[in-house]
Each structure stands twice: as structure tokens, then as C-alpha cells.
Symmetry: D2
Subunit: 384 residues, 4 copies
């Protein structure tokens, strides 16, 4: 049952284009949520309490007495980017657009729900439908749903991303760590300002920053297992106002990426140690503010194998791809910390889909929507 009817596909496209024209930023997806709720209620799906604007539906499978529940998740938020190009369904809200494909994710899950609701007696499990807010923000919508207790109802969880990094026609995942943890840090070096001609009367935070920027790199290259991917990037330096005055402080703002929670934890500790050591060495003080973002996204071993099997059986073994992990982050990772599950990439790269995620001209390739819907549906239908 890989096939999705033509009319259902048309419906999915219509929903998706409506969402694309009416994008909403993280935490503000109220109109999207209202649309989702209306449709879920029309499908006869029960709504579960959760923090708005996320929407959670529960579709009882079998004879209504099934005890196992599998969650499917879609994210709903758009980005603060000015859309470019001339799509007929271009964003009506200047400065906001669905540049990451979440409009597609929502439409896919809604359509899969529609399909599943028509065959609910045949389903081996109940289906928890997570239409989640705020994937792009911190704290994330995933964490909020977890705090809401909603996710406790699920025995397993699956999600997808329409993905430009994979060719159209391919669907896959990576067993184990597939996406990175993504944290932010701010290191403030507090020295002592003064005139540039008399550095000895100052504690020069810019010079100290230059040591620290290098030392941070050594955490990656010397202190982390080389088999464990890790990145520390300083994206922004703020220091000083003019050429001949040494400022009293320098601020380094950057990101840490890892594929492993232990590595992530250890990097935080090493950053603290090296910041303090180097600043102390030069007589400065420093503070490290560390904002824990999404954890690494680690697919469960058994659920990965199951998802691989679903892809192979639904679309043929040649469709399944062991995708290369990516250093980007994804809040679906939080679900996988507490529940077994898997996250899949649905390839859409090709002529129709030429721009990368987060580009002002990004668009999904609607041709892959039927397969995405079928995938979501079968992840439930074939659940062992």
C-alpha cells in the first residue's frame, strides 16, 4: 500500500500551499494550529491537551482497546526570512516564509492522518499525531510536548524531513547518530580597558580572546575522540569601539555541535576549564554562558531497522539509503532521548528543488509528497 490516491495527493498539495502562503513564526502557529484542529476533528480524531499552539491528536486503532501507541510528528513553524521568487503560492507575510519545508511536513502528517483514520480498525496500534510548534526555537516545541506529558503516551515515535541533501526518489536514515546537538555559547572576557599606547596599564581582552579562540579549537582536535564528530565555531566577536582604545571586554559568541551526548557534556567542561585557565593566566576574568540546544539526534537501533524495512518494503530496497549524518540540529532529537524511534529523510533534491534549506528561494518538491504520506502511513500499518 505505497499508493496514495490522486485526490488525497491533491488535498495534501492544497493544504501545503495554503500553509506556505500563511507562514507563522515559532511559537505563533495559531492559525496553522486552528486549521490542523479543524481537520483532525473532521477526521474524528480526538484532541489531547497540550501547550498551544502545538496540536496533538489521538487516533485509536483496532477495536479501540489497543494498548500500544506510536507517535508521528510534524513541525509547523516558518522562518524570519524574506521569500524570493515568483511561486504562485508565495508567502503573503513579508519577512516570513516556510524556508525549511515544515509546511510540507504538516500537510504530509495531516494527509497521513486522513488516510489512517479511514482504516483505523486495521491498525495494529493507536496513533499519536504530534503537530508541533517551535522546531526552530529554544526551548523547542519538542521539549514543551515532553514536559506536557503527551509523549509519555507513545511507545515509539517517527518523524521525517523533506530533505535537499538526498536525491528525489531516495528515502533513508542513519542507524545511530544522524544529526548534531546544537548549542550556543557566549564567552565574556573581562579585562581592563585603557589607551592603546599603554597596553601595560590594561588587561587586553582582545589579545586574550585570540588565545582563547585557538584554544577552543584544540578541544576539537586534541581533546575529543577523533572518531567522534565535533565542531566549535566562534561566529561573532564583539570587542572595542575604536582603533586606539583598548576595551575592557571582548565577547565570543559561537556554537558547539556534537553527535554524542557524552562528547557534548565533556566539551562544555573543557570550554569552562580552558576559558578560566587562559583568562586567569593573563589576569582577566571570564564567564561562559552555555545555552543547551537540541541534543544529538540518535536513531534507536531497532526502530532504525524497522524503518529501513518499511522503506524497503514500501518503495523497494534501492530506495533506501544509509544517509550521511549532518551537523545540523533538529528538535526531534529530544523525543529520541526518552522514546525509541527514528527520523527519516525523504529525498527531494533535483531539478525542481534547487535551493538549500533556509534559502530565500527554497521550495519543496511536491512530487515527493505521496511517498512521504505513504511512508508515514506504513510506519503505523506495518508496526510489528
Amino acid at each position: 500500500m505505497a499508493a496514495v490516491s490522486s485526490s488525497l495527493t491533491q488535498w495534501a498539495i492544497q493544504v501545503r500551499r495554503h500553509l506556505h502562503e500563511n507562514p507563522e513564526l515559532s511559537g505563533q502557529e495559531y492559525e496553522t494550529a486552528a486549521l490542523v484542529k479543524t481537520h483532525l476533528l473532521q477526521m474524528g480524531i480526538e484532541l489531547i491537551d497540550c501547550t498551544a499552539p502545538s496540536v496533538v491528536g489521538l487516533l485509536k486503532g483496532g477495536d479501540g482497546s489497543l494498548t500500544r501507541t506510536v507517535a508521528l510528528r510534524a513541525d509547523m513553524d516558518a522562518l524570519p526570512i524574506m521569500e524570493e521568487g515568483d511561486k504562485p503560492y508565495i508567502s503573503k507575510k513579508p519577512g516570513i516564509t516556510h524556508a525549511c519545508g515544515h509546511d510540507g511536513h504538516t500537510a504530509v502528517l495531516l494527509t497521513a492522518a486522513k488516510q489512517l483514520s479511514t482504516i483505523k480498525q486495521e491498525l495494529p496500534v493507536n496513533v499519536l499525531l504530534l503537530f508541533q510548534s517551535s522546531e526552530e526555537a529554544f526551548p523547542s516545541g519538542a521539549e514543551q510536548l515532553i514536559r506536557d506529558g503527551v509523549v509519555d503516551r507513545a511507545d515509539a515515535i517517527f518523524g521525517i524531513h523533506l530533505w535537499q541533501g538526498l536525491p528525489k526518489g531516495k528515502i533513508g536514515l542513519h542507524h545511530g547518530a544522524m544529526m548534531a546537538s546544537a548549542d550556543e555559547f557566549v564567552i565574556t572576557i573581562e579585562g581592563k580597558g585603557g589607551h592603546g599606547s599603554m597596553p601595560h596599564q590594561t588587561i587586553d581582552p582582545i589579545y586574550i580572546a585570540s588565545h582563547l579562540i585557538q584554544a577552543l579549537q584544540s578541544i576539537v582536535s586534541r581533546q575529543v575522540n577523533p572518531l567522534q564528530p565535533a565542531v566549535i565555531s566562534v561566529g561573532k566577536v564583539e570587542a572595542g569601539t575604536t582603533y586606539n582604545i583598548l576595551p575592557s571586554r571582548a565577547i565570543l559568541n559561537g556554537t558547539v555541535r556534537t553527535m554524542n551526548q557524552e562528547v557534548r557534556d565533556s566539551i562544555y567542561g573543557k570550554m569552562q576549564r580552558v576559558s578560566e585557565g587562559i583568562c586567569a593566566g593573563f589576569g582577566a576574568r571570564c564567564t561562559l554562558e552555555y545555552s543547551w540546544g537540541n541534543p544529538p539526534l540518535v536513531n534507536d537501533k531497532e526502530m532504525s531497522a524497522y524503518a529501513q524495512a518499511v522503506v524497503s518494503e514500501t518503495f523497494g530496497a534501492e530506495t533506501y539509503t544509509d544517509v550521511e549524518p549532518v551537523m545540523g540540529g533538529e528538535d526531534f532529537a529530544s523525543y529520541l532521548v526518552i522514546k525509541p524511534g527514528a527520523f527519516l529523510f525523504v529525498g527531494m533534491a533535483g531539478d525542481k528543488s534547487a535551493w538549500p534549506h533556509h534559502h530565500p528561494r527554497f521550495d519543496i518538491n511536491e512530487d515527493v509528497l505521496p511517498d512521504a504520506i505513504a511512508l508515514m502511513t506504513n510506519l503505523i500499518r506495518m508496526f510489528p
Copy 2:
């Protein structure tokens, strides 16, 4: 003849307070210039053509046929600083104030001119009176007067600075290099931007900047004669806009200070070499923009000895002080590149004068004005 009459002193104070209440920024000293011109003409002093708003007067000494001419110089500009405190003569122009004492310098030279004009027949030389604009700016007023050809008329030149770094009652100079060259540089590192999670797809200018900041210091500590003072300070780093995006460029803005022209020249060359080498090593390009400011201020050996003698004879040998050089710059240095001369500090540190130069509460100690006037006068009267 160290004495300056009480009435002349009162006149100097009155002039100085008027200037303090009516400060003008570099290059805009037109009202100050008008006041100076009026007084010079009243003293019967001839005005010499030069680029406004600088004013140059020529007082012919002796019987009017003397061939030698000695220049005295005062600077006239104020600073873009909001004055604080409650002086009765506080600046009437918000955001502009005489925070470096140039009001005092102008008043002292004007008063010395007045005194000299009354005894012009006794003078051993003609006196060229330089009331100079734009000491605080680049290109400097000194360079403009030199380009005007006015300074060619002088056989020697003297100037003073009322100085917080020397106690009231002390007057002095340093034989040889006394103040620093003060240049500005901007190094732009052109890398390649990208996402912070994929540094290998970028050429990270922030990381490269951290190498360069350290390498610049090694010019001072490894490549310059340790007996030659030198400073390279990066006062400002501009790089990046947010934590997870690596920018394509980083900009280092700073100052170079030396006490010797050869050292200064060599530092420029070494900065070029190390910037290019390091950027090339990481695949980046770089540009070094170097703005040559004032040269090092180097007192002429004979004129220093003469000025020392004038101080000793006028005020007593205990007044004369071999002052420690300072790393600050001064455009009087440009005169000393082409003419023999000396620059003196007139000490005014003590209870009445508590704030450093360029501080919003800075004020000169008017008690030292008579000595400053006497010094200027005697530098002419005693000229051998």
C-alpha cells in the same frame, strides 16, 4: 626675567577662559583664529598667508633687518568630548571642550607675543608665531603649515604642552625621542563565510584573526630592537553577526606607536609580511590599510640643550626635569623632522589639576601660565 606682570597674567587667563567657553573642533577654529588675528594686529604683528583656520604672525626683531627667525607654536583645537563639572567658564558648546589644554597654549603664545612685541628691538631674532589648527586630526595642522611653506621661514622652532604628567613647578623635556609616532591600521581578512556547523566549507576569518593578533605582538617582542619602544595594539575587532554563521571577513583596527622612524617603517613592512603570510597559509586574502599619523617627536640635540639652559636660567636648575618619554603622539613632531627645535612639558600636576588629559573634567592649572609665558618669551630672548 622670569617674571610676567600681574596684568599680563590676568589678560592671559581672561583670553584662555574665553577660549575655553568657546571651543572649536579641529579644522573649525575660525572664531579662535579671528580672536588671535585681532590681537596680533593690535600688537602690530604682521600676518603671514597660510591655510585657514591656522594663523601665522611674524614679529620682526632687532632693527628689522635680522635674518634669523625662530618659530613658536601653539595649537588651538578642542575635542569632541562633553565637558563635566562646574567651572564658571565651562564650555558653552555641548559635546565640545578644551580637554587637552590647547586653550592654554593659545593664550600663552598670544601673551608671549604681546610681551615680545613690546621689546622687539631687543630681540636677537625675528619671531614666527604659529597658531596652528588641527593638532588632534589627520592630516595634521602642522603638516598643512609645512606644506604652506610657512615653516621654511624658521631657523628653529619651539613648542610647549601644559602637562599633567609632570608636577607643577617642573618644566622639562627629553633629549632625543620624547613622544611617539601614532599610526592607525585596518587589516581586513577576507575568508569565506558559511554555517558554523560546517567550518570546512568556509575559510574562517575569525580563526585567522586570532593567529594574526598574536603574530602582530611578536613583531614587538621578537622583531624590534628591545631598546626601541614599540607598541602594536588592536583596539577593535569587527567580525560576524550571530553565533552560528561564520562571516566572510574579520576586521582588525589598531594603532602602532614607535619612538624612531626606522622602527616605524620596519613595523609597517613586517605587518604586511605577516598579514599576507598568515592569511595565505589559511587560504584567505588580506589587506592592510595603514594611515601614517604623526611621526615620532625627536628633540634636536643642540636645541634641547639650549632649551634646558633657558629653563635652568629662567627658573633655576631644580626646575628642569629630564622627563620620561610618553607613548602619546603630537603633531609638533612634524616640524622637528624638517627643523631643529624642541618641545617642552610645563608641569601642572597637583591639587588643582587632578584629571588626565582628554578626561571630561580635565582642566589646566592657571597658576602655571606665567611660567609658560616666561618660558616662551625667554626661548626667543636668550636665543644665541
Copy 3:
């Protein structure tokens, strides 16, 4: 047919202990080779010409007209390490010992050959038996056999390592890159010596080295895909003879490790670029001598799957382990550059085998020899 007879196991242990007592260094394994040849000839196995002391045998399978050939390889060299401990079969050659288990590898392959020779009519392929010299040296024995043309005879190749990093009872490999390339580099920084009190008269190679050591790390942390393991380590710095004399040169000696040939090539280029750039920036010259060691060991996709199947069928699926790659090198990698094949680890960690490879007290666990022999045998017998 996982079982290896007790008498055959005893024979393997006896051979192995004899080899352990009589270790030979890389390139000097002549007695070992003589022993191997004697046994092969006794088994009726044809010897193939190759560069001594390597020994190559060819066992024709089936009816003697088979066209496909599968190679099995064992390495034979010992290490220049003084053995410690009190094994009854301790090395008779002071300063040389089989501290990496190659004695075991040779005994296993010889015993597998013995077993295979008794059932040669049943074999689906011919068997090329590579008893290889110089795994621990450069250029390696593997490269020599390749140059000899011997390896051209094989359609596939397999090898094993008795492995302390895996528990006894486990056998496995990693699909794809499993072991690292291992290169050596020597960077010589040519500055200009002089007295430590006058650094400006020198070009200080120690200071330049400090920049370069840090810059090399940035190749790993900034310039290589974070998903690609890479290590650059400087293991030795040679610079200077006494505290107050700056030397004219500094030498950095280190190793580069990667899991991917493209990464390896790119690191070499980046090392050249950064060495030249930084040295030029400080006015020094530099040379990079780069000794290409073993390439990354990358198991063939199909052959890995086959080997996994052989392990699972022979010993049970629970025995098979997806081993974590290691940053160590292995010359078997060279075979895999030109032929499909796979390299397996036979776990032996546990009470009996407590010391790491290359330790003076290292010993293999002879209990795992039967499984290793069975594995080698079945890799031939089950070849599809």
C-alpha cells in the same frame, strides 16, 4: 563446519609458540618463511614467486580448473621490543618479540591452509595464501607483494587481526573505513640563529614553531569535514641547545591519521600551504617532508556483508560485532585499494589477554585460535 579438530588446534599452538620463541624483525623473517614453505610443500601447495622473505602459496580448489581465486593473508614480523614476563615460550631473541600477535596470524593461516588442503576438491575457489613480511615497516610488505604482481591473481582478499580491543568470543569488522592511514611528517623551519638577548637580529624558529603547531591543529578542527576523523599530532620537537642562544632551525616531527584517502590528500596540501604561509609571514623558510605510510583501511561493501554473513553462520549472529574503527594503521589497507575484500578483528580481550598490543607483556589468547582458523577456512568454503 566451525569445528577445528583438537589435534589441528594443538598443531597451531605448537607452530605459534615456535614462532613466538623465534621472532624476526620486519624484512628479516627468513626462518619464519622457511618454516612456512616447508609446511606448505608438505601440504602439497604450490609456491608462487615473490620477493623474499614473503611466501606465497597457491592451493588449487575444485577439479583444478577453477578460474576464481580468493586470497588469505597473514603477516609474519615481530617488533623491536624487549619481552617481559615468564611465558614458557618467551622470545629467545632479546629485544625482539611478537608483541602484536603476528605469530598467531601466521599459525592460523598455516593451519587453515592445512585444513583447506585436505578438502581442496570441495572448495569453490582457488586459495592464494599470502604469508607476508614487513607489516610494521615502510614501504610495507603488502606494497611489495602488490608490486610483485602476486595480488593480481586474487579476485578477493581477506585478513584477520587477533584483537585486544574486542572481547573474546566476538568477531567483527566495520563496513567501510575501519583503520586509519598513518603517515609521518617532518617540518623543518629554517630561521636565523643568534643570541637570546637580541631576538630582533634573529628569525626565531621556536616562536614560529609555536604558531605552526597551533595552525596544524586548525586543519583538523576547521578545514576537514567534522564527520571525517582526522588527527595531526606533533610527537617531537627538536630546537635549540641552550637557554640563551636562539637556534637557526626547529624541527617538528609528527603523524597524520585519516579514514579517507581524499581527506588524507587534502591534509597534505593544507599542511604545505600553512607551513609555507606562516614561515613566510615571519621571514623564515620551511620544508615539509611527508612520508606516505599505509592508506586508510576501507572494507569493501559487498565483501564486508559476505564476511559478516560468514561470521554469523559460523559462530552465530551474536558473535558478529560492528567494531568501532580505530585510528591505528595496517598495511592490509593497500590490498583493499586494488582488490575487494575485508579485514576482520578476532576478539581476544579478557582475563588471559590483559596487555595491549605492542606492550612488552603482550600475549595472544590461544583459546581463540580455533575460531580464527575456522573463520579463515569458511571465508573460502562459503565464498559465493
Copy 4:
């Protein structure tokens, strides 16, 4: 009385050549001492107890009841250098030579003593003649004589150095700081060794050393008054034994030079701080061993003026030179910490004296010996 008789000059040359042929290393100048004693006794000069092999003579001036005493000092030790060239008076001791001119110093002082002894009744002061051992070693001979209490007898002290940095015919000094403090340091970074392929299992002392080498330079360029000369040089790095093993420790061995005791003290403290901070930042431990060598040589203001006057009156004002300070050290500095005095350079650069101090072909220019003797003599005769 600048003239020194021809016979006295011949005697000085003869003594000097004898010493040159028979050089003795620091602390071993026993034959030199014996020769000095013999001559002093022949001159009727009283010997004062001190630690051998230094020799101290006391020549009582005037009527024998003078209370003031002026010390003159010569150093006696040679260097562990193999002399090159074909002087007729070449060193008879292979590997030892007077490559710094101390043979000349000893001969000059001995000859001056001879001359002074003939006119002792005319002398305004008693003369303390210090023939000092171990100028080139630590602890220095100067410190030993001070500990002996011998120097307490002097009211002032003078010394000379025959100097290649000044042309023949010039004699001079620098008022104030003229020679540098010269200390040695050893910084040991204690990390944790391991294999070069697994840096995360180590604490890499070589990488840490690279940070520290740079940080030490920033003490000079950022933390010391730019008007105060200072040098920190790492002359030797010891780390590691082979390319692929990371050592557990790295040792930095270097020298610190300053012209000012406060700067020197502060540098020691800053080195401690930065070593500890950086090592702590990377999880390593470190020790700083600091060997205090000679202090900065700072000529006394009044004694400098006196010595300048002696030079001018003895040889003419054009002979006197304000010499540029040098970053080399000299143990005469220790005398000047406790007694007023001055150290003078007697120029000898020119055709005859072409090689720098400490060069295997170094030789003094014997033509300057008469002036050196006259200078020593007159420093006593003219003492006010």
C-alpha cells in the same frame, strides 16, 4: 696624566699575552690569581682575605690615614671555547680561551695598580683592587666578593670592559641602566603521554607549549611598559622522542632580560601566572624554575657624571660617548646594587679587532691598553 709610559705599556701587553696563553675557566683562575698576587705583593700592596681564586689588594693612599676607599675591578675568567686563528700567543689550553677580553682587563688593572702604587702618597683615596673570579658563571664572582664583605670597604666602585661595540678611540658609558639583567628559566609542562593517533587520551604537552611560547611573548609586548626594554627568549625546547608518540612532558628553557629591577620582578610573577593559567586550562601541571642571574647594570647618576668628566678631561670631550645600552649581562651590576659607581666601555672596534666577543677568533686590540690604564688610574687620581 693620560700618558702611560712605553715600558709600562709593554709590561701590560706582556702580562696580558701570558694570561691569554694560559686561560682558566670560571672558578678555576688559580694560576692567574697566583700571578696577580705575586705582582701585587711586589708593588707593596696589601692582600685582603676573600674567597679564592679572587684576589683583593688594598693600596693605601695619601698618608695612610685616608678614610675613603674607591674600588677598581677586573674579571679574570676565560671561556670554554676552542680558539681559532694563529696569534703568536694563542691559548695553550685546547677548548679554553679568553674570548671576552678578561685577560686584558686583568692586565689593565694590574698595570694601573703598578702606576698608582708609585704615586700612592698623591692619591685622594685608598684603592681597593678587585681581581675577580667567575664573571661568566652563576653564582657570580661579584656576588661572592660581596658576601665576603670585601666590597663593604669601598665608597665607590668602577670597572671597564674592552668593547667591540664601540670604535677604538671612544670611551663612554650610559647614565642609568646600561646592561641587562640576565636570568634563566626552565618551564616544565607535565601532561600525559600516549599514542599520536589518540590525542584525546593524552594531555599533549607540545600543544600546550605552543600556547605558552606565544603567551610569554605577550608579557613583553602587552604587559611591560613599552619604554622599558625587556626580552623573553625560549632558546631550547625539549619534547618527545619519535613522531607518533606524544610525550608526557615538554621543557622550555630560556632567558629573561631587563634593564630595571621592578620590571624583572614583575616578569617573573607574570611568567608564573601565565604558565599556571595556561597549563591549568589544558589540564596539565607546570613548574617554573627561575635562576636569578646578574641584575640590570645601572650606573649611579653622580658617579656616571664623574666618570664622564674623567674621560673628557683625560682624553678630550670628543672621546666621551653616550653609549647605547646593551641587552647583555655583566656581574659588575651586583656591585652597583649596593655601591655607587659606574661601568665604562673602552672602545676597540676597528681593523685590528674584527671579531665579536665570544667568537673563537676574538682578540682585543692591544693599542687601547694605555688608555684603559690611564682611565683606571685617573678614576682614582681625580676622585673628588
